[in-house]
């Protein structure tokens, strides 16, 4: 089994129970290119090609004989399986050279290596490998299929992935990106529907209408108006609404089996914090006089200092305040990430109790304990999902308010 942390992290596939999604590849040409690139047989051939190319470039002629080639490739294959926690598993020959035989890899310069890499690992090379080389053993194909069961790979029209969790190049569509789009779509559908209802100022009718409206009115009356006051509150309300509901949606997706919480990825929370920071900077720069620099001057607390003291102290304070500005927004991102990751890790641990005993008799004792415990903890997670969305929105409102008002 792969590292359990990978269950929480973003990836380029959706994981469902193996029985629901079967991988039915019959020969090596049915497997995706990235999978072939990680195949030991392919990498063995690839290593030979790289060695040959480097041997030609070798200025000292030390990479001559067939014997040395065999030895080096054997060393490489040993290295691949030697790393702690499979750290070197599936690494191509060039990475081996880069980390273990640096002087040899320097025989070839950057652009030359790029060309060579395309030649040995590019799409054409893979296609060629699929046709020209003998097919993998049926045992291997079965094993490969077994590992691909239950993994719905996301099509990648704009880039190529390196493995299930990392991209090789281009723009790759990940699970969290798909989930973000799902949340965005749901929000647009739900709230434009609500908008059509509320538009006329009629009284709210029906459960759904009341349900969604209560969220919006709560955010307005308990965050926006108390923090900004009525006038500015109305201006920032759309941003706060969107932030809260987007984060809440992302958090709650983590509670649905086989999906995941996009807010458990640093990229997502950082992007949201950047939105808040940038909004504060923009609105603050436009509002505080003198135009544009008013915002930065506003970072400094007001002090009655004689000039001689102000010259050394104010720049130092400015540096500290600037640092503080970025740190508090970074903490905004880290808080949300840490809460989501921590909750999911604990759930994973509780589920792990059952999985640990999966093939032993103790499983029948461990499983019920695990079910009850994970049910209870899921309730807590639901609360945390709501709470963290609220905390993020509330702090965002406070930071924005600090950015646009003189203090």
């Amino acid at each position: 089994m792969a590292n359990p942390v990978l269950h929480i992290k973003d990836g380029y596939y959706f994981e469902v129970p193996k029985m629901l999604w079967r991988s039915r590849n019959d020969s090596k040409s049915d497997f995706p290119n990235w999978w072939v690139r990680l195949d030991d047989d392919f990498q063995h051939i690839e290593a030979g090609k790289i060695f040959d190319k480097l041997a030609v470039k070798d200025p000292f002629g030390t990479m001559g004989g067939e014997q040395q080639k065999k030895q080096m490739i054997a060393d490489y294959e040993h290295w691949k399986h030697s790393g702690a926690d499979h750290a070197n598993a599936g690494k191509p020959f060039d990475l081996y050279l880069q980390s273990e035989q640096k002087e040899i890899f320097q025989f070839i310069d950057g652009p030359q290596w790029m060309t060579l890499r395309d030649n040995i690992r590019g799409e054409a090379a893979i296609a060629n490998y699929k046709i020209s080389q003998p097919d993998w053993s049926s045992h291997k194909i079965d094993e490969y299929n077994h590992h691909l069961h239950g993994k719905i790979l996301i099509p990648q029209p704009f880039g190529e992935i390196k493995n299930l969790h990392e991209k090789a190049d281009g723009f790759c569509i990940s699970k969290f990106m798909v989930l973000e789009l799902v949340i965005a779509f749901c929000m647009v559908a739900t709230f434009s529907w609500l908008g059509r209802r509320v538009r006329n100022g009629d009284r709210p009718r029906g459960r759904l209408w009341n349900f969604f409206e209560s969220f919006l009115v709560f955010l307005r009356d308990d965050i926006a108006y108390p923090v900004f006051g009525k006038k500015d509150g109305d201006k920032f309300l759309p941003l706060l609404w969107t932030v809260f509901l987007f984060i809440l949606g992302c958090n709650l997706l983590g509670m649905i089996p086989w999906l995941g919480a996009p807010t458990a990825a640093f990229g997502v929370t950082v992007a949201l914090a950047v939105v808040i920071l940038a909004t504060g900077m923009m609105v603050g720069s436009l509002r505080l006089k003198p135009f544009f620099i008013g915002y930065w001057l506003n970072l400094l607390p007001h002090m009655d200092l004689p000039l001689i003291m102000a010259i050394p102290i104010k720049p130092m304070l400015m540096a500290i305040e600037l640092l503080g500005l970025f740190i508090k927004h970074a903490v905004l991102a880290v808080r949300l990430l840490a809460n989501m990751v921590a909750g999911h890790l604990v759930l994973l641990g509780i589920m792990g109790i059952a999985l640990e005993f999966a093939s032993s008799g103790a499983w029948y004792v461990a499983a019920p304990i695990s079910i009850v415990a994970s049910t209870l903890f899921s309730c807590l997670e639901l609360f945390v999902a709501l709470l963290q969305a609220y905390v993020f929105t509330f702090l965002a409102a406070l930071f924005l308010n600090a950015a646009i008002h003189r203090h």
């Binding site: 195949d39 598993a89 493995n163 908008g195 950082v270 950047v274 999966a358 499983a367």
Partner: protein, 231 residues
């Protein structure tokens, strides 16, 4: 169906479901274990790599160290999130937040207007009520006054009637008394005259002497005086 019954049904459905999910998970994991064990024992393939149970799980190979870090920062995901968020904000601003803000304000304005209107109506109603109460009170007072006046008028009229009646009766009585008086007097006069005439006749007869007119007159006078003093 009562609430308890429904809950019981839900529980009886939920437990087998949960058990089934766990059994399924367990069996698929058992499959994993079996596969790994078989991979363990399988050493016929060309490389000794295949003795490693993870050797054929290409999905996690060639990993960067950061792949296992939960705090890994992926710039493409961050950029994608930024774009999605800003687009979402723009779309929602147009199709949701605009109409919703507008609607909420309209509703609040409507409620405020209705409350104002209700307050105004209540004030007006109160005023009208006070006016009617006053009018009712006035009417009661007026009625009492009218009744009192009527009673007084009636009493006055009654008194007058009684007084008139008394006066009339008195007048009647006085007239009657006068009449009686006159009648009595005339009767007495007549009686006296007749009595005198009879007496004179009688006396003439008795004395059979003719009396002259003077004697006659003095005799009458003496008789009347006598009569009057006898009376």
């Amino acid at each position: 169906m009562t609430v308890q019954k429904r809950k019981l049904l839900q529980l009886t459905l939920a437990f087998p479901l949960a058990a089934w999910i766990l059994l399924a998970a367990g069996s698929s994991l058992a499959d994993d274990h079996a596969a790994e064990t078989s991979a363990d024992s399988h050493t016929t393939d060309s490389h000794d790599a295949e003795s490693d149970p993870h050797a054929l799980d290409n999905g996690h190979k060639n990993a960067s160290p950061s792949m296992l870090h939960p705090q890994e920062f992926k710039s493409d995901l961050a950029l994608f999130t930024l774009v999605v968020f800003i687009l979402l904000l723009a779309i929602l601003l147009k199709f949701a937040w605009g109409p919703i803000t507008q609607g909420l304000e309209k509703r609040e304005q409507g409620i405020a207007d209705q409350i104002d209107q209700a307050r105004l109506d209540a004030e007006q109603a109160n005023e009208t009520l006070q006016k009617y109460k006053q009018q009712l009170q006035d009417a009661v007072l007026e009625a009492q006054q009218i009744v009192a006046q009527a009673r007084q008028d009636a009493e006055t009229a009654g008194d007058k009637i009684v007084a008139d009646a008394k006066q009339a009766a008195e007048r009647e009585r006085d007239r009657a008394l006068d009449a009686i008086d006159v009648a009595t007097r005339s009767a007495l006069d007549e009686v006296a005259q007749r009595g005198t005439e009879i007496a004179v006749d009688l006396a003439g007869k008795i004395i059979s002497k003719e009396l002259n007119a003077d004697d006659h007159a003095s005799l009458i006078r003496e008789s009347i005086d006598q009569f009057a003093s006898n009376n």
